[in-house]
Symmetry: C2
Subunit: 479 residues, 2 copies
């Protein structure tokens, strides 16, 4: 039984504070708090180079809401309920603030799903394959299949030739697409540009596939000359290729047609599988006139897109579409696979399809087109204003991701939730990012920046290697 009472029920726990446990937990061996681990080196000598590891997982308790055992009289006093309500209210306020200052991640935070609130308290679960009926009745397959049909039509695959499902996120789409590719070509080598999302390389490791990284152009697109050279080194094995429809950092769109041409001209016809990672721009490209078309009329195997990015679902989700014939390949030699479930996750969030269905129905093709145009327009505005102010910046033609000089101050980066890599940062202009928001961001940036570099001791970094000398305004490249 816990000793604390009243308002101390839920604390922001600091480093390693351990609450006594109820007897039944047999806590005799839980020792006293240990300080949070050094941020820089777990299990290795910091800076010594000896035993230095890249640590994937660690356990740093910077801040958390501890869960405590309720008092026996809690139901009478109602103190716990009141305290929890206050934690939630404070959290809600912080969400509002954090949502307001948000530029770095491609999440459209502009939505109104009031109409769906009535469904929030049902345990909706789309178990397994959306096309195979399940006895579990509290599902939303009828919405899910409607959404899948919409996407299959968008990417021009016949109703009776596609298979797909609504995933938990873009990563699941990539994991699925690459798995299907490997099952079609068990001996295939995975090719992906080095600016591909990290989930692609994670997939290679999970699936024990050999993976070849291909160079990129300054724009972030795959370099097909390097791709050809690497293909020629592995002529004897089929190719599984991840094509980016919008890279994570620069929003670059790989040239799908040139990738296919490179494959076919170099002896890979009929011996390749292409997965299109459209997590970011998969739903924007169809509405951009000059964009290379993603369509199953071309020899591609699968396409994935995220639902919480451009579409703006309030939870991570995605759509995965592939050819039905490929899924049938998964079914051969299934000695151990006792199920007909070709998804990666068994239980799937049944709320996500309803959000997608609702948005697609409400906005429709024209609605998305309008939003895409607005995003591209606003992205151009941002890039132009940055350059006018002498800040190096780049915007790919088919993209709403503006890449620019990394702000010197980490607090500023955190405040605006910018994603950074090396010397560059980016803003992804989503439908909720309007001119007002950009202006207030720019104003703050200009003001801060004049402080950062005022004494002349430091100057902005050179980012020519990242965005090209013509876009860099460092001391060396300033005209």
């Amino acid at each position: 039984m816990v000793g604390s009472v009243g308002n101390g029920l839920m604390d922001l726990c600091d480093k390693g504070k351990v609450e006594p446990l109820p007897k039944e937990f047999d806590p005799t061996d839980i020792v006293e708090p240990v300080p949070a681990l050094d941020l820089e080196g777990v299990g290795g000598e910091e800076g010594s180079g000896k035993n230095r590891e890249i640590v994937l997982g660690r356990n740093v308790h910077t801040m958390c809401f501890t869960i405590k055992e309720p008092e026996v009289d809690d139901e009478v006093t109602g103190e716990r309920e009141a305290y929890m309500a206050s934690v939630l209210a404070r959290y809600r306020r912080s969400l509002i603030e954090r949502t307001k200052h948000h530029l770095g991640y491609p999440y459209n935070l502009d939505f109104d799903y009031g109409a769906l609130a009535q469904l929030q308290h049902f345990s909706i679960n789309n178990l397994g394959d959306p096309f195979i009926e399940s006895n579990y009745g509290v599902h939303s397959r009828q919405f899910e299949v409607g959404v899948l049909d919409w996407f299959a039509r968008l990417w021009e695959l016949e109703k009776n030739e596609y298979w797909g499902y609504i995933t938990n996120c873009g990563t699941e789409g990539n994991l699925h697409g690459i798995l299907v590719g490997r099952e079609v070509f068990p001996d295939g080598i995975l090719y992906a540009s080095k600016e591909s999302h990290y989930s692609v390389f994670k997939a290679a490791r999970m699936y024990r596939m050999e993976c070849v990284k291909v160079n990129t152009l300054i724009s972030g697109e795959i370099d097909c000359i390097d791709f050809k050279a690497k293909l020629l080194q592995n002529m004897e094995r089929p190719a599984v290729i991840n094509v980016n429809i919008g890279t994570t950092v620069k929003g670059a769109v790989d040239d799908l047609d040139m990738v296919i041409q490179t494959l076919e001209e170099n002896g890979f016809k009929g011996r390749f599988y292409i997965h299109c990672d459209g997590a970011l721009f998969g739903l924007m490209m169809p509405f951009v006139k000059r964009a290379p078309k993603v369509t199953f009329k071309k020899p591609i195997g699968s396409v994935s897109v995220s639902g919480h990015k451009f579409v703006g679902c309030p939870m991570p989700c995605g759509v995965q579409i592939t050819r039905l014939k490929h899924i049938n390949v998964l079914s051969s030699n299934v000695e151990y696979l006792a199920s007909r479930d070709a998804t990666i996750m068994g239980s799937r969030n049944g709320h996500a399809p309803i959000f997608l269905w609702y948005t697609l129905n409400r906005k429709g093709y024209r609605g998305f087109q309008k939003e895409v145009q607005k995003c591209l327009r606003n992205a151009h505005y941002l890039k132009d204003r940055l350059k006018e102010a002498g800040i190096g910046a780049m915007l790919n033609e088919l993209s709403s991701t503006v890449v620019f000089e990394r702000p010197k101050d980490d607090e500023f980066v955190r405040r605006w939730q910018l994603a950074c890599e090396g010397n560059i940062a980016h803003v992804v202009v989503m439908p909720n990012v309007n001119i007002d928001k950009l202006d207030s961001f720019l104003e703050e940036l200009f003001q801060k920046r004049s402080c950062w570099y005022q004494d002349g001791k430091m100057s902005p970094p050179c980012i020519a290697a990242d965005i090209g000398p013509e876009n860099c305004f460092c001391v060396l490249h300033k005209k």
Copy 2:
């Protein structure tokens, strides 16, 4: 532009009905509707045995809510909004009905999350590793880490020795646990009882691991004599073992202590990794006195549990806890893994941790204990009533899953959403399954059953092979 107007906007689409697309979709090659595929044989001769495939994925459009392009004047007329509202209202009614008649799946549908409704419209995303700070501010890591701490303490692993995250479902927990096992023992063979969840065998295929199926006892528990025999055939390679804390069909709990003993007595000491699949009963076992204890004081590597089952989250989710030192193994030789994200999914639903946090705080240890006792009591009631009525039934000592003779009528099975396998069906008694619900189920079953078997032409199936002759009441085994 779509031609239809008014109330026809959203139809339950029947087989393959295709709506014309807006011009921009370039729909010229979308051909006319194709009838839905034959339910029994895709790509094979039905019944001929020739080219007969197990088809994992298919594309049967039995019923779906089609998405249609809005009319230009929709915003003025409001017809679309009204129609969508009516679809949602009808759907809500069906969810209420389906939730009421639900017995076969282990989902606790008894919850009240009114206090969390205020957070539903935020795009909460816990990107990547919960212990590594992210610039994306709209997250719920502070709740997630609180929940993880609670589970780590429950399973007796020190705060600075565990790593974990909140997953999308039980399957993701198994995929993660087995992946960690493979990374710790790259040459390991995966052992799992044949009654393990299918995701375990899916993992073996995904990860290209050799997998050995172990026999089970009548109860559904792993047969350690067979396990030993299979270990002895593969002495030279380490073992990765999936231990079931509640099998899917019979709710059987593998004897963890005997599994460890079998491993250690046969030369595998220090050469095995155990993942405990506690999806179903992982959170119930700690509250059952006679249950074998799941604890990290024993040589286990990871434990997973579902959050939408006993806990009753309204969306699929789960908790995964493993040893921090194992996660560090993932970080060695990460030539291609450009990230420090040791989760399987990159983007993770940030709402789930809040639901879990809320429930754990509200119910606490004592609350769960009470609910577990209620479930076990009600499960005994159900089993006793079935047997009294001459219906073969079995209930494992540590389980709330009642296995019994499969009802003859499929409509009855669907109505009560029973999960079936061969000649048996099961009811999983969750906290929302009270005596009233069981009584109305039993009454209906008794009534229907007397019709099914009234003319004496047919008699109930023998299920002695599934639940033991002592529990079977078929013609042969009736006393």
